[in-house]
């Protein structure tokens, strides 16, 4: 009997050993040299000074926004077949993994790894290629000569800030422009498919809107992709927003943003997270950036994006406090409408509100490419820029900003409502509430009133309804 029990010992021991191993492995390693203490301003400076342009790494992104989950093998978004809303929505739900290779400002490759498929964006100097293995289609974009040395990646990237953009752009009094147009209307102006945002892109977006309404703190060090990093936390000072906190892991050595975590109020899981799971700062092999359309692939030549925004780009990096000049004229929402709004005074003063500790952010030139991106999409297109079309209105300030698109044929609001309701996924997600329909996510609420107006904000639905009632 005794012997019989002994024989079962391995069967009991092995799971125990495995469980122990997993537990030990899951405890965040705090070993290693602790990073020197830094104040938030110092960490911001570190982040701003970082100049890591050659690296390869794997980025994992997960989103818990409360949107209906798309099947992993969802609608394929061919390079230009603009699966529009669907393909951008895709990055708003579930998990995605991408490998990113960068060598200098003009060579990069992003591989979004789908199940049994892959979407690639490859840039080498002037040539930008998009490739989708699902339908074996490729698209090529030749950047104009003057843009070749700009550190702007692919114009396909614009669509991708979509996911993080709403949080990033909405709150700032400086940029109260919602990025919703991006998800909905990308195909028209943005050549190329959406690609996943890197932690860097996200960090930049959030830092761009840091102002006095945001509390910036440095938390305990974290470890990301095997590197110890400062944890920079941006928390709105107000309770009236859905956003609870944005945590940015800043590499202690290089200052590179390694992970961005967006926490929504009342949700334990991060609403959105993108971070490196592995990172190597060695320059990737040059052959990675070489792409030739494979035989048998359908190749489409993309038109060069409208020139107006291209020259604007070089001017962007030096923009102070993360207010890219391009945004202001383009985003329309803020400036023009401000005067007739009670809250208007807030808008003009926005630039001054940038607190001292935000100054170091001075939009480092490292990856300025993302900044111009959001503004150019709604702005650079001709369709939306009807001078006579009603412009959106902004109420509230800081993180509580509510943007209101009046109902009018031909206006942005009408176009969006239409695309929203035409998209089966979105229209399903929108629930009927008194006064209209509500598209609710963990971070952003969108209210489509019955009379065709749209209210967008990172605020609870009640506030949107109140705004709708008041307006």
């Amino acid at each position: 009997m005794n012997r019989a029990w002994l024989r079962w010992v391995p069967a009991a021991a092995v799971p125990a050993v495995i469980a122990a191993g997993v537990l030990v492995g899951s405890i965040p390693a705090r070993a290693g040299d602790p990073l020197p203490q830094k104040t938030p301003a110092e960490v911001l400076t570190l982040l701003g000074q970082h100049n890591t342009k050659s690296f390869s790494g794997t980025v994992q992104q997960s989103a818990e926004l409360g949107l209906p989950e798309l099947p992993a093998a969802g609608p394929s978004s061919g390079p230009v077949s603009a699966g529009g809303a669907a393909s951008v929505l895709e990055f708003l739900t579930g998990e995605h993994t991408a490998r990113i290779f960068m060598d200098g400002p003009t060579k990069m490759r992003v591989q979004v790894m789908d199940r049994l498929a892959e979407r690639d964006v490859i840039r080498r100097d002037n040539d930008v290629w998009f490739y989708n293995s699902k339908d074996n289609s490729a698209a090529h974009l030749a950047l104009p000569a003057f843009a070749s040395d700009l550190p702007l990646p692919a114009p396909g990237v614009p669509a991708l800030p979509g996911p993080p953009a709403p949080p990033g752009d909405l709150p700032g009094p400086d940029l109260p422009k919602p990025d919703l147009p991006l998800p909905i209307l990308p195909g028209e102006f943005v050549p190329g498919p959406p690609v996943m945002p890197t932690p860097e892109d996200l960090a930049r977006k959030f830092l761009a809107v840091v102002d006095s309404s945001t509390e910036v703190t440095v938390g305990p060090d974290v470890e990301v992709a095997g590197r110890s990093a400062y944890s920079l936390a941006l928390a709105p000072r107000t309770q009236g927003t859905l956003l609870e906190k944005v945590a940015i892991a800043v590499d202690g050595e290089t200052g590179m943003p390694l992970r961005v975590t967006v926490m929504a109020r009342g949700q334990a899981e991060p609403a959105f997270e993108a971070g490196f799971t592995s990172l190597s700062l060695a320059a990737p092999d040059d052959s990675v950036f070489t792409f030739v359309a494979p035989p048998g692939a359908t190749v489409k030549e993309l038109p060069v994006p409208p020139v107006p925004y291209m020259p604007g780009r070089p001017a962007l990096p030096p923009s102070p406090g993360g207010i890219p000049p391009g945004v202001v004229p383009d985003s329309g929402p803020d400036q023009p409408t401000a005067p007739d709004q009670p809250t208007a005074p807030d808008q003009p003063t926005a630039p001054d509100q940038v607190p001292p500790d935000a100054v170091p952010l001075d939009q480092p030139t490292a990856v300025p490419e993302q900044l111009p991106v959001p503004d150019k999409v709604p702005g650079s297109d001709d369709s939306v820029r009807h001078r006579d079309a009603p412009r959106p209105t902004v109420t509230g300030k800081g993180w509580e900003t509510v943007i209101w698109f009046p109902a009018a044929p031909g206006g942005q609001g009408a176009a969006w409502t239409e695309s929203l309701l035409n998209d089966p996924l979105l229209s399903q997600a929108a629930v009927v509430v008194p006064g209209g329909r509500l598209l609710s996510t963990a971070l952003v609420n969108v209210l489509l009133t019955d009379d065709g107006r749209i209210f967008v904000g990172m605020v609870p639905a009640e506030r949107l309804q109140a705004a709708a009632g008041a307006a």
Binding site: R7, V14, E118, D285
Partner: protein
């Protein structure tokens, strides 16, 4: 059984050959590439056989290891020889492992052969859009087969354990196959996300990472680690069960 596996790529190749061209983006991945490059027959066949055919084969082999001997009444004769139960168990498991390797290799070889005979063979386009020459493509095929062999090792350990529980081989076989299907179903349920990395089927489709450029080894290593865990757990269980078992037949 290996013949049945070899029939899969043949079936696919002939079907694609006879039918009109497959529109890209439809049907199982890689299917549309076959008509351009015969080597994709092997990939498509492996892809198709992963969910059911390969586990079925392994389930039959692994479920038969001990229970088969028991039902034939030969188990006690094997144990009369001074070989020891542990050794018998190890040899039986080694046999199952050999099958794990043989099964995907058979599919790959048959696929490459039939593909080469029915379709042109040329440089292969990887998932990343990069093109590799046939020799390297063949190497990738071998890697995929190796990946699948590793993937099936955990399942065969489960089959071995189930086989020690019963004297009815069909029961063990069926249970093994059912477990693999259940595991794949669980892997599809988003509500059980926390469980997914622990399911032995979780990385089965990760072999596509071998077709990326540069090759992504993450899934290969996590898969190997996971399968090693399953082998350890169910190997220990099989040991505990088999060594303490009263062998009556």
């Amino acid at each position: 059984m290996l013949l049945a596996l070899a029939a899969i790529p043949v079936l696919i190749a002939v079907a694609v050959r006879l039918s009109s061209s497959v529109p890209p983006g439809r049907g199982p991945a890689f299917l549309d590439r076959i008509s351009q490059n015969g080597l994709f027959v092997a990939v498509a066949a492996m892809l198709v056989s992963v969910p059911l055919f390969l586990p079925l084969t392994i389930g039959v082999v692994a479920g038969d290891t001990i229970a088969g001997e028991a039902s034939l009444g030969t188990l006690r004769y094997l144990l009369v020889a001074p070989a020891g139960r542990v050794r018998l168990l190890l040899v039986k498991y080694a046999g199952a492992l050999a099958f794990c390797l043989a099964a995907p290799v058979t599919v790959a070889l048959a696929g490459a052969a039939i593909g080469a005979s029915l379709f042109p063979v040329g440089p292969v386009t990887l998932l990343s859009g990069d093109v590799v020459q046939p020799p390297e493509a063949a190497l990738r095929l071998v890697l995929i087969a190796a990946y699948l062999a590793v993937s099936l090792a955990g399942l065969s350990a489960i089959g071995l354990f189930l086989s020690t529980l019963t004297v009815v081989p069909v029961g063990a076989m069926a249970a093994t196959v059912v477990l693999s299907v259940v595991s794949q179903v669980l892997d599809q349920l988003p509500q059980l996300e926390w469980l997914h990395p622990w399911l032995f089927t979780h990385y089965w489709f990760g072999f596509a990472d071998v077709l990326r450029q540069p090759v992504l080894w993450d899934s290969f290593t996590s898969n190997a680690l996971l399968q090693a865990g399953y082998i350890a757990v169910f190997g220990a269980l099989a040991y505990g069960r088999f060594v303490t078992k009263d062998v009556l037949s």
